[in-house]
Symmetry: D2
Amino acid sequence: MLAIRKGSATKGVAMYEIDEPKELPEGWALVEVWKASICGTDVHIYQWNEWAQKRMNPPVTIGHEFVGKVLKVNGGLGKVHEGDIVSAESHVVCHTCRECRRNMYHACENTKIIGVHMDGAFAEYIAIPEENLVKLPPSVPLEAGSVLEPFGNAVHTVQSADVRGKKVVVTGVGPIGVMAIPVAKALGATLVIATDLSPYRLQLASNVGADVTINVKEKDPVRVVNDLGGADVVLEMSGSQSALNQGLDMIVPGGEMCILGLPDNNVSLDIANNVVSKGITIHGITGRRLWETWDLGLALVSSGKVDLTKVITHQFDFKDYQKGFDAMMSGNSGKVVLNIK
Amino acid sequence: MLAIRKGSATKGVAMYEIDEPKELPEGWALVEVWKASICGTDVHIYQWNEWAQKRMNPPVTIGHEFVGKVLKVNGGLGKVHEGDIVSAESHVVCHTCRECRRNMYHACENTKIIGVHMDGAFAEYIAIPEENLVKLPPSVPLEAGSVLEPFGNAVHTVQSADVRGKKVVVTGVGPIGVMAIPVAKALGATLVIATDLSPYRLQLASNVGADVTINVKEKDPVRVVNDLGGADVVLEMSGSQSALNQGLDMIVPGGEMCILGLPDNNVSLDIANNVVSKGITIHGITGRRLWETWDLGLALVSSGKVDLTKVITHQFDFKDYQKGFDAMMSGNSGKVVLNIK
Amino acid sequence: MLAIRKGSATKGVAMYEIDEPKELPEGWALVEVWKASICGTDVHIYQWNEWAQKRMNPPVTIGHEFVGKVLKVNGGLGKVHEGDIVSAESHVVCHTCRECRRNMYHACENTKIIGVHMDGAFAEYIAIPEENLVKLPPSVPLEAGSVLEPFGNAVHTVQSADVRGKKVVVTGVGPIGVMAIPVAKALGATLVIATDLSPYRLQLASNVGADVTINVKEKDPVRVVNDLGGADVVLEMSGSQSALNQGLDMIVPGGEMCILGLPDNNVSLDIANNVVSKGITIHGITGRRLWETWDLGLALVSSGKVDLTKVITHQFDFKDYQKGFDAMMSGNSGKVVLNIK
Amino acid sequence: MLAIRKGSATKGVAMYEIDEPKELPEGWALVEVWKASICGTDVHIYQWNEWAQKRMNPPVTIGHEFVGKVLKVNGGLGKVHEGDIVSAESHVVCHTCRECRRNMYHACENTKIIGVHMDGAFAEYIAIPEENLVKLPPSVPLEAGSVLEPFGNAVHTVQSADVRGKKVVVTGVGPIGVMAIPVAKALGATLVIATDLSPYRLQLASNVGADVTINVKEKDPVRVVNDLGGADVVLEMSGSQSALNQGLDMIVPGGEMCILGLPDNNVSLDIANNVVSKGITIHGITGRRLWETWDLGLALVSSGKVDLTKVITHQFDFKDYQKGFDAMMSGNSGKVVLNIK
């Protein structure tokens, strides 16, 4: 079968002809991959940055956001069956660590990630633990199915705060930030403001429902937001130190900040004035809650309350994967999908 | 009457003979002060640091932690009556800002503080809004009554996290950190660890129930706590950058940090690894919740679950107030109480 | 001025010419009433049932749902000013009981109700504590402003459960049940089902967004809801014993029920199978949270997420109040508004 | 090996000599049982009441509360290993139903119970899914280990409410009600009141820390509790209709009731006055939260905050099991333990 792999410890990825998964361990399933979407993580692997070098041991088939059809299940829990259309949680958890015992699987201390620690989904077939599969209702468009995993990050971020009747600012509207916008509105936010440096991304934010967009190269976002009454909730998606500080500056006393963006380095924050004196709550967000986030995300998409096709800006044939990576690296894209079958 | 006042915009405070409060505005009460306790804020005012210079306009009678007897009420809500023994919330709130409307009075945007913005409690009599008074049950010792206000900070910090069955680390055991220890134990913490630089304070922490104390000059607190299984909850009471970082280092994935300590400057934090990837929640803590914190604190003290007399290490006659300030500034003290009547 | 009053302890109400409110106590405001809406409570007073007989001491001007303009404020908190367009919370709370101290003003033990315990809003002018007034943003239609108080009951009911991505059943779609439907959808419910006996009300439920309506005279609501996967959340608005039992029958394990409807008598429930074994949570709902419910409700209405004009089915001139009561008593109405100015 | 079994569909149980468990399915463990405790459910099985007749298909080895040593594990998650001292969760859950997916395993729709649906723990050896085992820290006394499962019911009940600084009433102090008392105190309750009909049980309640006991045959519990200021939280452990109504009568507005007791029939409740108008929250409690309840319970016991040996009133040799059942059926017992090895 064809597979996009990190073949060696150098920059880039390539398509290879490799064997289909042969042995299916007890509790695993074999899935025919139909569509897969490129994550920022895949770009890090492509670029072979420090994060990737620390975690990967090539050769590995990459990719972890996909939709496909179940071909076979070896035992398992009975969550999915042959013929089901499925997407997948990319984190394989241990079930025994302190966090798993507290149902905080998203913070599992022994997580393995599909397409990083084991062969992934940029391939015609993938072998994967059945418990990680999620059966899709027929009302979920296939394209949407291929981006449910990163959508889960957006849902997890929004669901961690109380956005009901609130003014919500999304700082950084890359693909996950963009997806957080319709989620916030669907869960009751009455004003959603997006900030970014990129006119392309801000336009995309408007397309999916942002009420106000602010290009931080042109305007002081703190002033604009304060003129609108301040932010009740800030969703930090950029990993930028200035966005973190601006977010804390614009947040009202008693407000909430959810941080999903990963800063490259330590960040310097005014804890005294912006966190303690304002009585702010900060939520660090990682992964998706198993399975509350998936259930909520699927309910929003299958009911039509969130239309994920609007965030998919590019689709390419599987063999044109390089165009997909180029689109991702240009910064001028939402989600980029590869059509495998 | 006698009163300790900030007489002018220079270092120090002094005792003056001044008039008793004459006019009692509608809704205010007159209280005979029996005992008052010296806060770190009073020390800042004494030292006339930047914080104090920004907020005060001398001459002002200082002090805001006290117990006394109600002499008169002009109208008011009927919370207290003549002859009641009372303590007081030091923050006078506006009732109309966004935070007050959401019952987040502790984050009121227009707070006035007794002994800072208006004449305070280091005096034989104080005039104060009746709504700020809290009637004490007879089972509360008078000394304890004089430290209920800072005790409320400790209670507010602990009640903001879930400490039931948890390992709790208190970083910084000045007076409020010390008071947080018995509160955490009373609310279900099964192991409480205290860290500080001062042997005196660590001994006090042991006296009030800390299971483990760590002098951070002698041992690496992160290593010691991790050897004990990590911290489920960190209560940051020191305002120190290193304590903040150590606290985040020792906290387990999914854990909570409550920050009451006010750093002097911006602090540099590893948000990516210690907040986002671990899925931590951080609570900024300011003031006391009106009146949930007072109700919980009073229940703990009046039932005997928390013995506040153990944290009062010094008592002086009112006229020996300088000895009280000296004790506070030595670092070798818990709470210091002035006996006024 | 003209006022609709309960003149004596017999059935009916009548319009009288009475003096305008003369003295305005400290902290009270005088409001010119523009529109007022008839509540089920007003109908109980009209019919002079047991509930009304126990609480009222005629003569009293009735009515407590209204919108109007502030003419004068005597002191007060500064929440509203002359010329402001306002609606009002109908419960005047004591601020000192245990519930008020815990910010549960809606459960105040000493509540007084406007139009029941003191002269109300079916009059050209009303005197009312300023703290009970709520200033309306210009984007709130005046008709909507006159029904914000009962809308608050609907908002309070929905906000007490987690409806995000959930299947929500509203049992009983009188005016408040009907208003709960768009609130549930605005806060993230993905399927809203309405049950009632009245085709008129079920049609109204459809008009405001119910996805499914069930006439319980024609179909077994438990079977229909179970075929749709069961109810995650039931909002009980009917006060009917059979609706309570059906609601508990259709709710999934771990689900939530919010009860606003007041049964006339004791009700017989299968606590063992439907509450304990299913691990259900039941929330009794009374009044509105001060002021979180008002803030959330106003945000939903002023942002356009909820259109309250759709639930107002009848408007009459003030003098035609009898037609208004007749419409209410017919059962074939949503909210009924009297135009006073 | 020896085992106490329900041999046929008639009253009583008997000891049999049967084969040791032979085959150990993948993921199961073999445990040598050291001590086991008799549950009310075992008494129902003994008496062969309707509940038992509906669920059991004799012959089955009964018993599900035990402590023992792991002899062998076939695969599994790695939670326990050979030689570990363990107790066990009695509910075997499906992991795929809606409730399991939401981490509400205690409400799993497909639960199987050890000693009811499969051979249980009143035997020298038991085969059991490894995921159901819980390794005990050395500081847990063996007797305590044998009652951790029912203790979990008590912990789950208390942890479902906020008891911090609260007045808590336990209605019905059979073994689980008794165990709830020290849990409530350990988690911050400042006054715990126990009600029952049995002087023996009320004495036991006092022994484990109840501040007040009320024999409802002698005094009106509603009056006594109201004289003490009313109940903030009621833990209903009796399954009695009168206790449910008294509990709702004595609860303060905004209070909470947790119901673990299973009434035999429908109960008649004053929903209007006691649930809706008071704004009460009611929690139905079933089983134990996996694994938060176990973690909290173990923390309380292993830290010494709760001493479970005080609730064990009788211990018998395994062969004297009839004496154990007699003690349970007398009503004059706390927990009754059988010493198997």
